[in-house]
């Protein structure tokens, strides 16, 4: 952790490799600053032979000016589940500088990652830029959940820009940026934006089996949809009045499809 300029810089790193006996080892598990990593008991959700890691936010972060990063690299055949102990709060800094939160996930052939963090809450007057970059080998599998909550209960949100860039075998698979909150481009909360909803989430599922049998596209109630992408992947996009109801929709999708 380095205190460069106004904010802090911290990067947490995970490396997972197949241990050759059907399991997954974690030769690198290094937290930093507010980002602590704990190896946790496998719940079985990652399948047999998977390792499990929990990201523990030891301090409230990110504050304006902070640059935080999480990097996970999975070797061939490694299986890993990553969750977090609590929601991440984007908080305003003293000088109004934006905070940055970068996540980089790199999966080799046959690797499988379940990336299931708790929601990101955009607190009033915060300014956070999130960029999640995922690089997948052609036979890698991924289940990734992103949830954004605009403000704590009854609170105005801050400014949140969140980009998700995913490539598969070096080709672009998904590239999306969401901007919302005061200061975001006009119309963000209107009828072509969030239309007053305060929680939104996405579930990205990448599985080589979808090349032959993609899940069917269609609405999931009034405020969510299942959309197969142009590659072997499907995206569930959901809006909800609050974080609880958002999670219920995403959990139901995971359960119904056995993802």
């Amino acid at each position: 952790m380095a205190a460069a300029g106004a904010g802090l810089r911290a990067t947490a790193r995970i490396r997972a490799v197949a241990d050759g006996r059907g399991g997954t080892a974690l030769p690198l598990l290094a937290g930093e600053g507010p980002l602590a990593l704990r190896r946790t008991r496998s719940t079985g959700a990652g399948g047999a032979g998977g390792a499990s890691v929990t990201l523990v936010g030891a301090m409230s972060a990110p504050l304006g000016g902070d640059h935080l990063a999480v990097e996970a690299e999975l070797g061939p055949g490694a299986r890993l589940t990553v969750g977090s102990a609590a929601a991440t709060l984007a908080l305003p800094g003293r000088d109004g500088a934006p905070a940055r939160y970068g996540t980089r996930l790199v999966l080799a052939e046959g690797a499988a990652l379940r990336w299931l963090p708790e929601p990101l809450v955009s607190v009033r007057r915060s300014d956070l830029r999130v960029h999640t970059r995922v690089e997948l080998a052609p036979t890698a599998r991924l289940l990734l959940r992103e949830e954004q909550v605009l403000g704590r209960a009854g609170e105005e949100p801050g400014l949140l820009r969140s980009r998700l860039t995913v490539s598969l075998g070096g080709r672009p698979l998904l590239d999306q940026e969401l901007a919302c909150g005061p200061g975001a481009p006009g119309g963000w909360d209107g009828p072509a934006g969030l239309a007053g909803h305060r929680a939104l989430g996405q579930l990205l599922v990448v599985d080589p089996r979808f090349a032959e049998h993609p899940p069917p596209a269609g609405p999931l109630g009034d405020l969510a949809a299942v959309t197969p992408l142009a590659g072997p992947a499907v995206l569930v996009t959901a809006l909800a009045p609050d974080a609880l109801r958002l999670r219920a929709v995403l959990d139901a999708a995971i359960r119904d499809h056995d993802w």
Binding site: L174, D175, G187, P191, A192, T227, P228, T237
Partner: protein
């Protein structure tokens, strides 16, 4: 550049099939989210900064001469809804037919050969603009204008909205439209240096969600 060519390309009477698409307005009207001129303006503003900006970036990059296969893949990655990808390719195919007849050029023939089932419309629009002697910023303007012109015209039909009011909405959006086109053209220059990831990727979850719902309706006035 030829200002007249820009008018021909941007004219709603240019036979490229755009009139059959509402840009999500039909679903928004049905859901009660567009019900008057003010809500139409809010809808158009949101669409301009998301789908409009993305289309304008792709069109500007194609007009700059960047690789259309790479740009089409970038368009796919920015369009999670299969209903919207299908609509974009259908519109691309129709535009290409009209463009090949209007501004014959080897680049348009090459595009047709590379995408027999149609390329994303903004990519075709950019190559067409290039064939017509227009600049990337012109292509971005056309794409950005189409992103709001379609919903405005559709809302006149769907809601019986006064056409004068719909034109007023578009006129009020003009300064934002100029800014979006300029941002898109600047991003196209960045993409020439850094690749298509430098292009805008602004998304609207609600437009994607309602596009899938709309595609499942048994009867609808517009194709998307």
């Amino acid at each position: 550049m030829s200002r007249a060519a820009l008018l021909v390309l941007a004219d709603g009477r240019f036979p490229a099939g755009g009139h059959a698409h509402s840009g999500g307005a039909e679903a928004a009207v049905r859901a009660g989210r567009i019900h008057d001129a003010a809500s139409l303006e809010a809808f158009c503003r949101g669409r301009l900064h998301t789908a409009g900006l993305v289309a304008a970036g792709l069109a500007a990059a194609a007009a700059l001469g960047l690789d259309s296969v790479e740009l089409d893949a970038a368009a796919d990655a920015r369009t999670p809804s299969p209903a919207l990808r299908a609509a974009a390719r259908r519109l691309g195919r129709q535009l290409l037919r009209a463009a090949r007849a209007t501004w014959p050029a080897p680049e348009l023939e090459a595009l047709a050969a590379a995408f027999p089932r149609g390329a994303h419309q903004p990519v075709v629009l950019g190559v067409t603009a290039r064939a017509a002697g227009l600049q990337p910023l012109d292509a971005a303007h056309v794409a950005a204008y189409e992103s709001v012109g379609g919903p405005a015209t559709a809302t006149v039909r769907l809601l019986g909205l006064d056409p004068f009011e719909a034109s007023g909405v578009l006129a009020r959006l003009a300064p934002v439209l100029d800014a979006v086109a300029e941002e898109a053209a600047a991003a196209a220059l960045a993409a020439r240096r850094d690749g298509p990831t430098a292009l805008p990727a602004a998304s609207s979850p609600l437009l994607d969600i309602s596009a899938e719902a709309h595609a499942s309706w048994p009867v609808r006035l517009f194709a998307s």
